[in-house]
């Protein structure tokens, strides 16, 4: 058998695994791999401007296509720069394979140039990682890495390849997948637990479906199953930030997002429900608020593919370790087998309608200033008839987008939920645009967040990616400022965005189009122009500077202690609540 170099084996594996796009940045320790991909037209390499962006772009690609994102970076700083994106993918369960170059095996441990202990550094921010010490191990490792990244609870996997392993040769045979004998994710639900869940459904008078990113990760069939189950039950549906789009926002059963900045009706329904069906959601602290006051009246069924998510935060009555889609299908089948008929939940719904009538997402307008909520609402109106993908950075704009942009389909909403990474949205939009060339991809950004990966304007120009950046510019790190107003008596310590660039000129400097929107009259035409302008566009939308994101459950408070408007803000908070953040 002819021998092939490690670099050649790696690229062959990527081709065999159907990889069409790699986000990367070259450097000394990956030169052999870069030399090999130079010859391959089938793999499109996207040169980013910073390795963090490569990882976020891979996340955006993965989240919007369902396929794993692939990253290729060099040793040392290449790997360490990618770590934020890798951690982000771990927290949000994004399938990703990161290939890092490493110094030659005989130099490992000698503090060599651009050496970092990549497997050590990434051990706890990956689902699994490898240091490959021989080209003969490479093919099996790469295939196993993709299997682990994409199966079970998805996540990032790092493959660290020393430079001499890339150059050395070994016999190559296309491997058959021979995954770790100890790696056996449970995807099929236990029948007994499904029966118990159904028994609770049959007894329930006030059920609610609490859904999360697990439905999106499970694939489009899970979203279909969720819609079918909701239709069968006639129960209200709420979702975490990560799960938006799995259930259509246009449905009358939709209560909106729950949690810290969720709607009044979603949080009250969770609080008063007698049965919570948690489907692919993990009771994150942004969702639960004060734990001893969380959904005190309810039995809880928790479907999660990760046994570690169950009973981690909230005691569960019926644990179902399974793929969310498979579990929902099993519940539907079980209900049908019992001749289930939709019960009368009209009392429950009439209470929900009272909460809904509070119109918790309303905001006060007037005058020339653009309210940020209005900007998002107009963006939604102008794009709702198109195939639109929204990404966000992290902060107030992210919450306003989650509240005022409405999603009817999965994989159209890409945001950094678990890690809360400023700088995620723009590179994620790049990945989403590459995976969905015909979609309108918009990064809803803040003036502070966008500067964390603004250098990627170079990337969108290089690859002619028509990504739109819609900056809600209030000249503050708005969420930090909001918390300072609420809990630190408006002492705005270092939360003002001083010395902001002129975003229009900045866009133009890179060769993109810049648009400034300053008044209400300019809002709708400005959004229109953004959509109609080919190529990348940066919109600097000047919004009311001191707007706060409401409703809000203050840290350490119960769902029922929700703040609906600024008049309820005291400006102080006790130490217990401050410590929770």
């Amino acid at each position: 058998m002819a021998e092939r170099s490690g670099a050649d084996i790696l690229v062959q594996c990527l081709l065999d695994l159907g990889v069409d796009t790699v986000f990367g940045y070259p450097g000394g320790a990956v030169l052999p791999i870069y030399d090999t991909i130079y010859d391959h037209q089938k793999i499109k390499h996207i040169l980013v401007r910073h390795e963090q962006a490569a990882a976020h772009a891979a996340e955006g690609y993965a989240r919007s296509t369902g396929k794993p994102g692939v990253v290729l970076v060099t040793s040392g700083p290449g790997a360490t720069n990618a770590i934020t994106g890798i951690t982000d993918a771990l927290m949000d369960s994004i399938p990703m394979v990161v290939i890092t170059g490493q110094v030659a095996t005989h130099l490992i441990g000698t503090d060599a140039f651009q050496e970092a202990d990549t497997v050590g550094l990434t051990r706890h921010c990956t689902k699994h990682n490898y240091l490959v010490k021989s080209p003969a191990e490479l093919a099996g490792t790469v295939h196993e890495a993709f299997h682990i990244a994409t199966s079970g609870r998805p996540g990032p996997v790092v493959i660290d390849i020393p430079k001499d392993v890339q150059v050395a040769t070994a016999a190559y045979e296309k491997p058959t997948l021979n995954a770790h004998p100890s790696y056996r994710p449970q995807t099929e639900p236990d029948a007994e637990m499904i029966d118990k869940a159904i028994a609770l459904i049959l007894q329930s008078e006030r059920p609610i479906l609490y859904t999360g990113g697990g439905i999106i990760n499970s694939g489009p069939a899970a979203s279909e199953a969720l819609r079918a189950l909701a239709d069968m039950l006639g129960a209200p549906v709420t979702s975490t930030l990560m799960g938006l789009g799995a259930f259509p926002a246009s449905s009358p059963q939709w209560l909106g997002m729950l949690g810290m900045h969720g709607t009044y009706e979603a949080n009250f329904a969770m609080n008063k429900a007698d049965l919570i069906l948690a489907l692919g959601a993990r009771f994150d602290d942004r969702v639960t608020g004060r734990l001893d006051a969380f959904a005190p009246l309810s039995k809880k069924v928790h479907v999660d593919i990760d046994r570690g998510s169950i009973n981690k935060i909230i005691p569960i009555d019926v644990p179902v370790v399974a793929d969310a889609g498979r579990a929902i299908e099993a519940i539907i089948a079980g209900l049908k087998a019992r001749g289930y008929k939709k019960p009368d939940y009209s009392d429950w719904w009439s209470r929900i309608e009272e909460w809904r009538a509070r119109k918790s997402l309303d905001y006060v307008e007037g005058g020339e200033e653009i309210m940020p909520q209005r900007a998002i609402a107009e963006l939604y109106k102008a794009t709702r008839d198109r195939d639109t993908i929204i990404t966000t950075e992290v902060g107030q704009h992210q919450m306003w987008a989650a509240q005022h942009f409405h999603f009817d389909e999965p994989n159209k909403w890409l945001t950094s939920g678990g890690l809360g990474t400023m700088g995620y949205g723009f590179p994620a939009a790049i990945g989403a645009q590459l995976g969905n060339p015909d979609s309108l991809v918009i990064d809803v950004a803040g003036d502070a967040s966008i500067q964390m990966n603004i250098q990627e304007l170079g990337t969108v120009i290089q690859y002619s990616l028509p990504v739109k950046i819609f900056i809600l510019n209030n000249e503050y790190m708005g969420m930090v400022r909001q918390w300072q107003e609420l809990t630190y008596e408006s002492r705005y310590s270092h939360s003002y965005s001083d010395s902001l660039p002129d975003f229009v000129k900045l866009a133009e400097a890179y060769g993109a189009t810049g648009i400034r929107i300053e008044t209400m009259d300019e809002l709708i035409p400005g959004i229109r122009r953004m959509i109609d302008t080919p190529g990348p566009v940066v919109v600097d939308c000047r919004v009311a500077k001191l707007s706060n994101c409401f409703p809000m459950i203050p840290s350490g408070a119960a769902h029922t202690d929700m703040l609906l408007d600024p008049s309820q803000v005291s400006g102080t908070m006790d130490d217990e609540a401050r410590a929770l953040v």
């Binding site: 689902k127 240091l131 609870r153 100890s182 990760d306 046994r307 570690g308 009973n311």
Partner: protein
């Protein structure tokens, strides 16, 4: 404000893992990253083909945390099986210690007498010292070491706990 503490219980966990580079760091790092306690940790290759190691971990925490520890260990890719010996029980727990005691006269004789009571073996001796080898549950080792402190204890080396379920089941 004060940080609240919950009541802890001690559990002995037996974990079988693929014997691969970095596995011990992965397990130990999981404990430190998630703030779990390790009282002792032992690891050794236990298979004929050197592919599987057995790790015994003694930990403590509230029941909720113990459950999380097991779940978090179990989701690591190279972990085959996690057995909570304390929960499943009954199980045998053993630890080996080497205990060096120096002294002369009555103290030396008393040390030897107590060693006999505890069925500790003398594995090294000079005219002024002994090294005792003692095996048993950690509590027995603790007691023996405690007594030796009064009788010229010089140093102690302990292996940490290994444990195994009683009866035929693995």
């Amino acid at each position: 404000m004060h940080i609240r503490q919950e009541d802890s219980e001690r559990h002995v966990l037996s974990v079988t893992v693929t014997n691969e580079a970095g596995i011990l760091a992965r397990i130990a790092g999981l404990f430190s990253a998630r703030g779990y306690n390790i009282e002792s940790l032992t690891v050794a290759d236990v298979s004929a083909d050197h592919k599987v190691s057995r790790i015994t971990i003694v930990t403590n925490g509230p029941p909720r945390v113990i459950d999380q520890i097991i779940a978090q260990l179990d989701r690591l890719v190279p972990v085959h099986k996690v057995t909570d010996l304390t929960e499943i029980g009954p199980f045998v727990e053993r630890e080996l210690a080497l205990v060096k005691v120096a002294g002369t006269g009555e103290a030396r004789i008393e040390a030897l007498r107590l060693a006999d009571v505890f069925r500790a073996k003398v594995v090294d001796t000079t005219l002024e010292s002994f090294i005792f080898e003692i095996t048993g549950p950690s509590s027995k080792v603790d007691t023996f070491v405690g007594l030796m402190r009064e009788l010229g204890l010089v140093e102690v080396g302990r292996t940490g706990v290994v444990g195994m379920l009683r009866g035929t089941a693995a």
